[in-house]
């Protein structure tokens, strides 16, 4: 699955500037994560039209990068996330960051993972019976 990362400044309204552009372009945000840092932030999102979103943002002079991430189905029960992380740890794969989808109706959340080795992670997760969502 594609993720878009946007460099945003640390001031009031900088996130809204991004979401306003996406709204105007009718891009739907499916997952979003942002963390604080002293001078700037990286806003990471999974959207329904990543290429179009990147284009719209770049035209307004945002720095945008599209990266490949893994999105996995979770079981709605204790230990589900632990299972995913344990599989990765055993395979020696680094997890750089993780966040979740913003809605799933009555289902358990999809987790977005950025890891050191996408292909290997895909194999070991599948091997452990964890469902990966591609689109």
């Amino acid at each position: 699955m594609k993720q878009i990362s946007v460099l945003v400044e640390n001031h009031v309204g900088s996130l809204a500037a991004v979401t306003a552009l996406l709204k105007e372009a009718h891009v739907n945000i499916k997952a979003i994560a942002s963390f604080d840092s002293p001078s700037y932030g990286i806003l990471r999102m999974v959207v329904d039209a990543p290429e179009q979103a990147a284009l719209v943002l770049q035209e307004s002079h945002f720095a945008v990068k599209i990266t490949d991430v893994l999105t996995v189905e979770m079981e709605d029960q204790p230990g589900a996330l632990d299972h995913v992380f344990a599989v990765m740890a055993e395979a020696g794969i680094d997890i750089y960051y993780v966040y979740s989808f913003v809605y799933r109706l009555d289902k358990a959340p999809l987790m977005v993972l950025n890891v050191s080795d996408n292909e290997k992670a895909r194999q070991v997760l599948k091997g452990a019976g964890i469902q990966i969502v591609e689109e």
Partner: protein
């Protein structure tokens, strides 16, 4: 190609011409320019005191303020009716400076620019595209007449409308580009973004750059954008000294050759006015030897440079001025430290992860000056990694600190975010001035 025999004279021959013309020019000014006569009288100097070139040092300086005090025609040595042309400076630092030319001044100006064009690699038959703004600015028409004079074909495309500039560049087969270095870099970026390969799709061979200083970093970027074979030189002048045509680089790139039969260059200590020995860095002072409408004696340019007198490998014997290392009025004093924007530029340009564009914002928080430098990422490759972005900011910060001795807040901006300039680039915003603070 060397345009004029005056570029290859011996030092003795150059000096003979200079002293003869200096005597004439001082007498002309004293007789006809009341404000300069008053300065000479106040200094107790008469035209007959000028016997050798060393006596130049007896003469009072001319400064930009003289133009403002005598706006518009007070410094002219001839009646307005005798002028063939009027130009004016951009007036970015106050009221515009009005300058004028007699027909003879026009000839000399054209001759000087012809030499500069040839020094930079232009030849008869070249297709020259002039992307300077026409109008009152001296740059466009100065290069225009000089290039026509050497037998080049001139396209006065003027500034702006970048896509059309590129269309003409392709369709006319432009071989010589005249522009500010900032605009040339911008043109190069747009050319690349259109998917054109300047090396294959354009015939561009020579860039004659002026209107603002070109740093070595900008020159390196020219090679990246237009190819290694591109001959990117800069030339020097200002409206008070005719306009372009005072000095220009040759392909040896070891300083700008001064047209010494028309201009005498000195380097002074800007604080004391004392003339500095050969090779020392200071403020460039220029005396015009042939300008009749608006004679300028010992004009303080506010540009920082130094002079070299050894003959150049290109065959010219004229003195060379080192490429400018800033302007005395560009200098910022931040927490008591002298800072030239060009120093920051040299640091930034050594880093491939960022583009040559930047902005410096100086402010005051409480009693403390602050400096922020906005830099532009060269591409989006680092955007998903806090670690890489922070490492880049920290590296820029520590390099700036090691050069300036000052901490600066580094702000990373998206590619293409910072403003591009078609004329002189404005890189510094000093908010202390709008606060009415002393700086």
């Amino acid at each position: 190609m060397i345009w004029a025999k005056e570029e290859t004279l011996s030092r003795k021959e150059i000096e003979e011409i200079q002293i003869a013309r200096l005597k004439e020019q001082v007498a002309w000014s004293y007789e006809r320019v009341a404000p300069y006569r008053a300065k000479m009288d106040a200094a107790g100097v008469k035209p007959e005191h000028i016997r050798t070139l060393k006596d130049l040092q007896l003469l009072p300086f001319s400064v930009k303020q003289d133009f403002r005090d005598n706006y518009p025609f007070g410094l002219f040595a001839v009646e307005r009716e005798k002028l063939q042309r009027i130009h004016a400076s951009s007036g970015t630092t106050g009221k515009p400076t009005v300058v004028g030319y007699t027909p003879e001044d026009m000839k000399n100006w054209t001759e000087n620019v012809s030499r500069i064009a040839c020094q930079g690699g232009a030849v008869p038959g070249d297709m020259a595209q002039i992307c300077f703004g026409y109008g009152m600015f001296t740059g466009a028409l100065g290069l225009h007449f000089g290039l026509e004079n050497i037998g080049a074909t001139v396209a006065p495309t003027s500034s702006g409308n970048t896509k059309k500039q590129i269309m003409f560049m392709q369709d006319l087969g432009t071989t010589v580009l005249v522009a500010t270095p900032s605009y040339a870099l911008y043109l190069g970026e747009v050319i690349q973004s259109m998917g054109l390969d300047p090396k294959k799709d354009l015939k561009l061979r020579v860039g004659l750059f002026g209107g603002e200083g070109m740093t070595e970093a900008m020159r390196q970027q020219m090679y990246v954008l237009f190819g290694e074979q591109f001959c990117a030189t800069q030339n020097y002048g200002m409206s008070e000294l005719n306009g372009p045509g005072v000095a220009g680089e040759c392909p040896e790139l070891c300083g700008m050759h001064i047209n010494e039969d028309h201009f005498i260059a000195e380097i002074i200590n800007p604080d004391t006015g004392e003339v500095l020995p050969e090779g020392e860095k200071g403020e460039l002072v220029i005396t015009c030897l042939t300008k009749k409408a608006l004679p300028m004696i010992r004009y303080r340019t506010r540009d920082i440079s130094r002079l070299f007198y050894e003959p150049c490998k290109c065959g010219r014997t004229t003195a060379r001025m080192e490429n400018l290392s800033g302007r005395t009025d560009d200098m910022l004093i931040i927490r008591g430290v002298n800072v030239f924007p060009s120093q920051v530029e040299e640091v930034l340009s050594a880093m491939p992860q960022i583009s040559p564009y930047y902005e410096i914002i100086v402010d005051r928080k409480g009693q403390l000056d602050t400096m922020e430098i906005k830099v532009e990422l060269a591409d989006n490759s680092l955007v998903d990694s806090y670690g890489e972005l922070e490492k880049l900011s920290a590296t820029i910060g520590s390099r700036v600190k090691s050069v300036l001795g000052l901490d600066a807040a580094i702000r990373l901006e998206a590619p293409g975010k910072l403003q591009r300039f078609e004329g002189k680039a404005k890189r510094v915003t000093d908010n202390r001035k709008s606060l009415g603070l002393n700086c």
